[in-house]
Amino acid sequence: MRWLLPAFRPHRARLLMAEALLCGATVLSLGSSWLVARALDVDVAGGDAAGLARTAALYAGGVLAAGGLTWAARVGIEGIAQDVMRSVKERLFAHLVDHDVALHDQNAPGRLVSRVQGDTEALRTLLSEVVLQAGPDALLFVGLLAVLTYEAPAMAAVVAATLPLYALLLVWFRRVSPPQFLHAREVAARLAGFCAEHVRALPLLRAYGRLDWVIARAERLAEEKFEADYRAGITMVWFFNTLFAVRAIAYAAILWVGAVGVSRGTLTLGVLLLALDYLRKMFEPFIRLQFHIVTLEKARAGERRIRELLAWKPTIRAPDAPVAWPGLTVGIRLTDVELAYVPGTPVLRGLSLDIPAGRHVALVGATGSGKSTLVQLLFRFRDPDAGAVTIDGVDLRALDPAELRRHVGLVLQAVHVLPGTVAENLGVDTVTAARLLAEVGLDERLGPETRVGEGGETLSRGEAQLLCFARAVATDPEVLVLDEATAAMDPGTEARIQALLAARGGTRVTVAHRLRTIADADLIYVLEGGVLVERGDHGALLALGGRYAALWRAQLAAEGAAA
């Protein structure tokens, strides 16, 4: 948790203020109870009705003021906890956005979302409900024992005697309850998974007449959930009622000692009531705990996960002294490149090929042949395990990745529009954005300042695809990479993009399943199992009568069938 301290630093003044308010509320609350004692022992005993009215009013005022202070302090603390967590989230987010693509491949977006949102939420509860509450709670214990010791040491002894019992109970509860709750959550998650899986499989199960089997297993899981929930629930019941029983014993003891004292005149009625009230107050932090016991366990696990994620340093970084962009006059070369996502199962196996400058190069191959991996290498989303990727003889690892990526444009099949203006999404100023929009023919529909993405203008798929294309060419990159870019495009959008590409020229790398898209490429590489199996232009490859020719005929046939 120490790593969180810097995040508190900007809020030091607010934090001190809120803690002071909370301590003030505690003092006021303890003082108000003391006023009750005074009202009885001084005003009532002295027969001073006006004084009684004053003290009662003061008491009401004190209570309300304590309530008001508590409210202000708690809202302040919530605000601080929120702000601290927001800075942690932003740090975590920035860390993830710039992190290796490998990390994102290993962690699905949904999982990272729950790291950024869910784990921090649990941590926030821990901060605002326990950590920042600890001081005022300690003050409450100390304060009420001090007042009682001053007024009636015997009473203080009785109240203090319950503290170790509470503590003991708490230790027991903290040991027993969290595993039960975590188990209950785990069973609940399993039941939810079961429901999802079987709701989807219902048609099949119905066809095989096995619905009874589903019901029977659901019943078994539900029974397991019952056991888990009941066990966790009953622990809670025992914990609180044992607490109540301890308190009842303390109440009886205070009444006994107090009543004897009052009858002998060694103790006043007011002090007796004061002790009863303080006993109730001492109990409050324990009650608050019941709402948060599960969150606290989640917070501990979440805190660990966040720390691990932040400690995971990216491997793809700019070198200390990056080489300037060499310009692309010769070409990109892969030399004996090997790469495995999982050790032992290589995706690229000693791949060597050239992408000559100014040419249109196409990569063809089945799923898993390694062509998308090759694209990752071109952007240095990954580094090869062995071999090298060079641009005009310069190893990509010698360049600043940001610099490299300015000179290489990427168009993917999936469209990604971020919340922001069109110009922001294109990553250029508004003048350039306007020019780009006109180029791709979106200028009538969108302006540079139009907001798009979540909460903005809704784009049709074709429009989003054109926008993504405009983004890829916005920096006028020397190399343009299209990874299945046109696979999901309607014919109109695709035609427009093809026209733009034809007008643009330059070095281009296209990955495509549909061979018609790349038939005009200057050079076609056919990959299979991470190695190069054929190379040449369309005509040459057809004449070769190999893998490419077979693929081409099959696609012609499929188109014939669809026509």
């Binding site: 009202a39 009705a49 009684l52 009215a53 008491y59 009401a60 309530g67 708690r74 809202v75 919530e78 605000g79 929120q82 927001r86 932003e90 987010f93 693509v101 979302v113 950024v116 949102q117 939810a192 998974g193 999802a196 899986e197 709701v199 989807r200 048609p203 066809a207 619905l211 089997w213 029977a216 019952f226 009941y230 009953i234 009622n241 029983a245 009842a248 009444l255 006994w256 004897v260 009858s263 009625l269 009531l273 952007f379 990745p401 990526r405 990604h416 971020l418 919340p419 922001e424 990553g427 979540e454 983004r471 009568g545 077979a550 693929l551 005929r553 046939a557 069938a561 669809a562 026509a563």
Partner: protein, 571 residues
């Protein structure tokens, strides 16, 4: 149906047959309520007893009442906890039964995630079950506590009772108002969190483009904005939530001030004893939490009613009609099959006899899968009388159970509900589905758990598990909907060669020439209409479009490169 009627119906449903627990709670709650008030009364007894000198005995009784009350509470709360969970179970059972029995077409209107939410979240203790037991009986107990305390106070001093009790109903009202407002703000928080999650998801999804185009700054800005909006919503929510807590913690103490003043005056003029005053103090403290139970009852009822409406919508789904089953050995596919979405026109009825294999092919959207699902009796409104079938749908369904259970769809070796199981001939089934080697390699063989909490099967293995399932069912009609697409040509050939076709009616959807060539007849469908029917060879010879599409398997990624080029060359 009004909220009250709906709640009452479900209340009756979940409590049916639970008379013993209900009686236990009715009596137990009454006892705890009496002891609550009795404990405060004992304070008076102890203080008054001090004058007479036998305070020790009174204090012991007081202690007994206090500890006894806590123990009794263990029983009452324990019962409530148990019944809450049972109610959750009963509600889920009822809804699940309705979902399972519902007409597939009706169910298709709901998204899977929505159904899962209703089966888990809406029936949960938090949303529904707590209210139907704990909520109701806490309110009942609260009512009894209020009555007992008020009775106790009236016995001591009726006028002072008014002073002490008057501010309390105000608390209930403010709590209900705050609670409702809080619900709205909590929704706003949910929406803000949802929006921030969308931004996160968008950015993580497109992390390649973000890095490729240096859009990190834009992404950070977008997230910062969303996170700030979320913090704003959270703080607005926190203001009200903390207000509710303050009402809990401090609001009621104003009643103590009123009591202090009015009670103090009475103690002064001697009409109220010290013990009476202490008892009054105790009664007010005892009254506070029941007040909040009333508030909670109102707030939680609204939540529960919303969940109930969603559950009732599922319970109201009409059960699906049983599908007609033909006992004729041959399958007759009618000339026209009308489904809600598609009309399949075969031109003339097609009869497939035992031992015969019919293949169906055609481009995307031709209606192949619809035809198969209709033959399997899974298309509402298109009930065909077909022999009992073993259907293998296009997308493999693999459940998170063992391999054996996935194949049999019952607990292995057991004779569980609905499935008479004698130990199947595993060697034969696995061999027929080309799974023998795969299963041998699994850590626990057939007993290996697969799916979410087990090993992951490859696409081809999943398909072969499906095939094994169909074969193990031992039904006279085998429906394979593109069920061998992920198998390599060699394995597929082994599967067909090993299939004992005698006595089986086989209908298969395929795009592979090798498979089509094995069929006795091929139905070539396009856009819901039959284009041609005949053997593969005759269709290749007479139908140009069919020839182009299906004459060979070239380029389908199933043959070695050399074989593919030969095949393509001959096309």
């Amino acid at each position: 149906m009004s909220e009250a009627t709906l709640t009452w119906r479900w209340f009756r449903f979940v409590w049916r047959g639970q008379g013993a627990d209900m009686a236990r709670l009715l009596v137990g709650s009454a006892l705890t309520a009496a002891m609550h008030a009795g404990f405060a009364w004992m304070w008076k007894v102890v203080v008054d007893a001090a004058r007479d000198g036998h305070v020790g005995r009174a204090a012991l009784v007081c202690l007994g009442v206090g500890v006894g009350q806590a123990l009794l509470y263990v029983a009452v709360q324990g019962t409530r906890t148990r019944v809450n969970e049972r109610i959750q179970q009963a509600a889920r059972r009822r809804v699940l039964a309705a979902v399972v029995a519902a007409e597939p077409g009706d169910l298709a209107r709901f998204r899977t995630g929505d159904l899962v939410t209703r089966l888990t979240d809406d029936v949960s203790t938090e949303k529904l079950a707590w209210f139907l037991c704990s909520g109701v009986f806490r309110a009942y107990e609260a009512l009894l506590i209020v009555v007992a305390c008020v009775v106790g106070m009236v016995v001591i001093d009726p006028a002072l009772t008014l002073w002490a009790v008057a501010p309390l109903p105000l608390l209930v009202v403010t709590q209900v108002i705050t609670g409702r407002q809080l619900g709205r703000r909590a929704d706003a928080v949910q929406q803000a969190v949802g929006r921030a999650n969308v931004v996160l998801q968008d950015v993580f999804d497109g992390v390649r483009v973000v890095q490729a185009r240096g859009l990190g700054a834009l992404a950070r800005r977008a997230f910062t904005q969303a996170a700030a909006a979320q913090v704003d919503a959270e703080i607005r929510n926190a203001r009200l939530a903390q207000l509710l807590h303050v009402q809990f913690g401090y609001g009621w103490q104003v009643a103590l001030a009123a009591l202090l003043f009015a009670g103090g005056l009475r103690v002064m003029d001697g009409t109220l004893s010290a013990g009476d005053f202490v008892a009054f103090n105790g009664f007010v403290m005892t009254l506070v939490f029941p007040m909040f139970d009333f508030g909670a009852f109102v707030v939680r009822w609204r939540q529960a009613a919303a969940s109930l409406a969603r559950l009732q919508a599922l319970v109201d789904l009409p059960p699906g009609a049983p599908r007609p089953v033909s006992d004729a050995p041959a399958l007759t596919i009618p000339a026209v099959i009308q489904t809600p979405h598609l009309r399949l026109d075969l031109g003339a009825p097609i009869e497939v006899r035992p031992g015969e294999m019919l293949a169906v092919t055609g481009p995307v959207g031709a209606g192949k899968s619809t035809l198969m699902a209709a033959l399997a009796g899974q298309v509402p409104g298109a009930e065909l009388a077909a022999p009992p079938s073993a259907w293998v749908p296009q997308d493999p369904v693999v459940l998170s159970v063992t391999v054996a259970e996935n194949i049999l769809l019952v607990g292995a070796g057991s004779s569980e509900a609905g499935a008479p199981v004698s130990e199947p001939d595993w060697a034969r089934i696995l061999a027929a589905a080309c799974l023998t080697d795969d299963v041998a390699r699994l850590p626990d063989g057939l007993g290996t758990a697969v799916g979410e909490r087990g090993v992951t099967l490859s696409g081809g293995q999943q398909q072969r598990v499906q095939l094994a399932r169909a074969l193990a069912a031992g039904r006279p009609l085998l429906l394979l909907d593109d069920a061998t697409s992920a198998l390599d040509a060699d394995t597929e050939a082994r599967f067909w060669d090993g299939l004992e076709r005698a006595g089986l009616v086989i209908v298969v959807v395929s795009h592979r020439a090798a498979t089509l060539a094995r069929a006795d007849r091929v139905v070539y469908l396009r856009a819901g209409r039959v284009e041609a029917v005949g053997t593969h060879a005759s269709l290749v010879a007479t139908h140009p479009a069919y020839r182009v599409a299906y004459a060979s398997d070239a380029g389908r990624g199933v043959l070695p490169a050399s074989a593919a080029s030969t095949a393509a060359g001959s096309a």
